[in-house]
Amino acid sequence: MDPDRAAVTSRRNLLLAVPPALFLGAFFVYPVASILALGLGSAEGPGASAFGDAIANGPLLRAAWFTTWQATVSTLLTLIVAFPAAVVFGRYDFPGKAALRAAITVPFVMPTVVVASAFLTLLGPGGPLGVDLRRSVWAILIAHVFYNYAVIVRSVSSALENLDPSLEDAARTLGATRLAAFRRITLPVIMPSVVAAASLVFLFTFTSFGVVLILGGLEFSTLEVAIWRATTQRLDLALAAVIAIVQLVGVSTILVLLSRTQRVRRTEVPLVASPSRVRRPATTGERWTVAGVVGATILFLGVPLAVLVVRSLSFGGRFSLQNYGELATRDPRGLFVPPAESIGNSLSFAIPATILAVGIGLFAAAYLSRESRRLAEAFDTLLMLPLGTSAVTIGFGFLVALDQPVDLRANPAIIPIAHALVAIPIVVRVTTPVMRSIRTRLREAASVLGAPPRSVWRLIDLPIIGRAIAVAAGFAFAVSLGEFGASSFIVRPDRPTLPTAIFRLLGFPGDATYGQAMALATILMVLTGVAVMAIDRFRLGVQADF
C-alpha cells in the first residue's frame, strides 16, 4: 500500500475510535480524574492529611496488604485446584465434555452476590458441612477458587488442545518419557497461557468486592471494600479517594503485566487447526483419573449452588415456596419496595446496558482489529482499564464526578452506563479476535466481485462476527444483571437491582429476610444461567480471550 493511502486509511480507522474514546472519556477518565483530584488535593488542602491519615491509621495499609496476599493465595490455590481438570479437558475426550465445559463457566459469570450467598449458606452454621467458616479468610479463598476455576480450566485446556502434537511426538522420538515430554516441552510451551490465566485470576481476586464484603464481615477488607466503607459508612470521600488511587496504581500495574503476557502468548504458541491429541482415556488408570477429576469438578462447582437453591426452598425448616411468595410483599423490616420489583428493575437496566456496551464495544473492536501499532495498544489498555479498575471505583467516581456539569447522579440512566462500562472490555475481548480473523483478502474478494465499499461491511464483516456479537451481548447482559460494585454506590434504595436488593436483605437480621435473599439469589442465578446458556449456543467457533 502506498504510504499516503495508508495514512488515509489510518485516519479513517481513527474515526472508529472516537465514540468509545468519548464514552470512556466522559464516564471513565473524567470520574477517575475527579477521584485523583480529590485524593491528591486532600494531601495539601485544609483538611490536610487524608493521605497521611490513611497511611498512619492503617485502613489503607491493612487493606492493601490483605488485598495483595489474599489475591496471591487465591491465585495459587486456584491454579493447584483447577490444573488437573485443565489437563483432563485438554487431553481427553469423555461423554458430556461439551456440556461440562459450558457448565463450569456458570460460576465464573455468576454475580458475586449469588456466590457469596451460596457460600454463606454452605459454610454457615446450618450448612451441610457442619462447619462455621463465616468471617474466616477460608470462606473468601474457597469462594475465589470456585469463582475462577473456569478461567484456569478453559484457557489452559484450550492451550493444551491447540498445542501442535508433533512437538511432543518429536520429544518422544528423541527419547523423552511421557512425563519428561510434558514437563520439558508441553509445560514450557503452554506456560504463557498459564501465566496469562493466572494473572487474570490475580486481577479478579485483587479487585474482589462482593465476596469479601459479604463473607469477610468487618474483619477482612480489600481495597475495594475499604473504598466502599469509607464512602458509605465513614462518609470520608477524601479517604475513599486516597484508597481508590492506591487501587488504581495496583490494577494498572497488573494490567500492563497482563497485556505483556498476552502478547507473548500470541507470538509464541504454535497452533494447529485441528486438535488431534485429544482422545478417549485408554487405560483403566486413565479412566479412573478422568472420572475422578470430572466428579470432583461437578461436586465442587455444583454443591454450593445446589445448597443455595435448597436453602431458598426451605422456610421454618420445611420445604416451602414461601420465601418466593414473600418477595412480592413489602416487608417493613426489609426494603422500601417489594423485593420482587428488583427483578424488573434489573432487566430494565440490563437491556439498555447491553445495547450500549455492544454498540460502543463494536466501534472499539473495529478500530483495534484494523490497527496494530503503538496507538492501538495504548487504546487497548485504556479499554481494559474499566474491567480492572473495578466496578467500585467506577461507582465511586460517578458519585464524586457526575454532579457537574449536569447532575446525573440521581438519573437512572447512569446505572446502565456504569454497567456498560464494566461490560465493554468483555465485548471488545470477544469480538476483536473474530474481527481480526477476517482477512483483508475477503473484503478485497467482495470488492472484485462487485460489492460497493458501503456494502462490504454488511455483507462480509457483520455476518462473520454475528455470532461473536451475540456472545458479547449475552455476556454484557449477564454482567449487567449481576453487577454489584458500581451499583452499590449509585443504585437508589427505592429502585434496587437484584444484587443490591440481595445485599440489603442479607444485612437485616432474621431468618425471613435471609430466606428472601436466598430466593432472590436463586432467581438471579437462573436468569444469569439462561443468558449464559444462550451464549453457549452461539459460542461455537467464537474464540474469546477468556
Binding site: 500500500m1 502506498d2 504510504p3 493511502r5 482477512r439 483478502r441 475477503l442 478485497e444 474478494a445 467482495a446 470488492s447 472484485v448 466481485l449 462487485g450 460489492a451 460497493p452 465499499p453 456494502s455 455483507l459 462480509i460 455476518p463 462473520i464 454475528g466
Partner: protein, 329 residues
C-alpha cells in the same frame, strides 16, 4: 485488449513495481512469471483496482477512475479467500447478486458443473479439500462472466500431484472459455502449460515479454536465461569456426571471431561416445520423468539430457554442443 502503462507501487520505501507496462490481447492467456517478491501479485492488484497508480485501459476504455467493484474483471486469490460464513453456492452467487443477475441459482449450477463440482452448493467451505476449494474459487471468479480473468498463483498451495492434474484442467478450461486471462505464477511449467504469452518480472521490472516459444528459445538477457534455468555459462574463444571451450575444441558456427560469454541450455547438449568435447560426471538427477546429467571441466559445468543409468561420479564423458541452440548476449 488490456493495456497497462506505468504501473508503479512503493511499499515502505521499496519500489515494488517500477513503471511496468503490460499488454494482453483479447482471448489470450498471459502468464506473469517471477520469483516471489518480484511484483507480480502487486501488478494484478493494480489492474484489479485494489491498488492505485497505473494507467489501465480495457478495450479502449480508461479505467483509472473506475473503482474496483465496477471494473469488468475477475480475480481469483492465491489463498482462494472463500467467505467462511457462506456455503459454496452463496460464495459463487456473491458476484452474481452484486451484478443483479436475474437467475443466480441456475448460473451457479452451471459454473459449478463447469469446474466439476455439480451439487456442491450446500457445502461449507471449511469442509472442502484443497482442490475443491481451488475450483470453488475459480467458479466464483468465473460466475459473473468477467471480461478479464486474473488468477494469482491459483495452484500455489497444492501438492504436486493435484497441481499437475488441476493444471491440465485449468489450461483446457481457459482455452475452452476463450477468455482473456492473466495467470500469475512462479512456476515455469505452469506458465508454459496455461499461457500463450509470458511476461517475466524481476524486482518490479519487466525483463522480457512475448510469446512462450520466443521467450524460451531466445531469452533476451542472461538474467532471463538464468531465470529460465539455463545456468550453464561459459567463456569461449572463436577463431575460424573453431570454438575453444572449457571442455575442449569443436567445430561451430554463427558466432564471429573473438571471446564470448555463451549460455548453453540443456537442450543444446547431446551426450555421445563420439562427442568432440569431454568432462567428468558430477551429478545425475531426475526432473519430471527426464534425467539430467551434469558434467564439468576446467571449472565450468553444464547440464544435458541423459538417457542411461547414472555414471559413477568422475567418469569421463563425451558430448556435443549444438551451436544453433547456444545463447549469446
Amino acid at each position: 485488449m488490456l493495456q497497462v502503462r506505468g504501473a508503479t507501487s512503493v511499499l515502505g520505501g521499496v519500489m515494488v513495481l517500477d513503471h511496468v507496462d503490460l499488454d494482453v490481447p483479447t482471448n489470450s492467456v498471459a502468464a506473469l512469471l517471477g520469483a516471489s517478491g518480484s511484483g507480480k501479485s502487486t501488478l494484478l492488484r493494480t489492474i484489479a483496482g485494489l491498488q492505485p497508480r497505473a494507467h489501465v485501459t480495457w478495450n479502449g476504455r480508461v479505467l483509472d477512475e473506475v473503482p474496483v467493484h465496477e471494473r469488468p474483471f475477475g480475480l481469483m486469490f492465491q489463498d482462494h479467500a472463500l467467505f467462511p460464513h457462506l456455503d459454496v453456492g452463496a460464495n459463487v452467487a456473491f458476484g452474481l447478486r452484486m451484478h443483479h443477475h436475474p437467475d443466480p441459482a441456475s448460473r451457479v449450477a452451471e459454473v459449478l458443473e463447469l469446474v466439476d463440482l455439480a451439487g456442491f452448493q450446500r457445502r461449507d467451505p471449511a469442509t472442502l479439500s484443497g482442490g475443491e476449494s481451488q475450483r470453488v474459487a475459480l467458479a466464483r471468479a468465473l460466475a459473473p462472466g468477467p471480461e478479464l480473468l486474473m488468477l494469482d498463483e491459483p495452484l500455489g498451495a497444492l501438492d504436486r500431484e493435484l497441481k499437475d492434474r488441476l493444471l491440465d484442467e485449468l489450461g483446457a478450461l481457459l482455452r475452452e472459455l476463450a477468455t482473456t486471462a492473466i495467470y500469475v505464477t512462479h512456476d515455469h511449467d505452469e506458465a508454459r502449460t496455461v499461457a500463450d504469452s509470458v511476461t517475466i518480472l524481476e524486482n518490479g521490472c519487466v525483463l522480457q515479454s512475448g510469446p512462450i516459444r520466443t521467450v524460451w528459445d531466445h531469452p533476451a538477457s542472461s538474467a532471463v536465461a538464468r531465470f529460465l534455468g539455463y545456468e550453464a555459462e561459459a567463456e569461449i574463444a572463436v577463431q575460424d569456426g573453431i570454438w575453444t571451450t572449457p571442455w575442449g575444441t569443436m567445430r561451430g558456427w554463427g558466432i564471429e571471431d573473438g571471446t564470448h560469454t555463451i549460455v548453453i541450455p540443456p537442450h543444446a547438449v547431446e551426450f555421445s561416445r563420439a562427442g568432440q568435447l569431454a568432462g567428468s560426471a558430477e551429478s545425475h538427477r531426475y526432473v519430471g520423468g527426464r534425467a539430467e546429467l551434469r558434467v564439468s571441466g576446467n571449472g565450468s559445468s553444464l547440464t544435458g539430457p541423459s538417457d542411461g543409468a547414472p555414471p559413477p561420479r568422475g567418469t569421463r564423458l563425451n558430448f556435443d554442443i549444438h551451436p544453433g541452440s547456444v545463447l549469446r548476449f
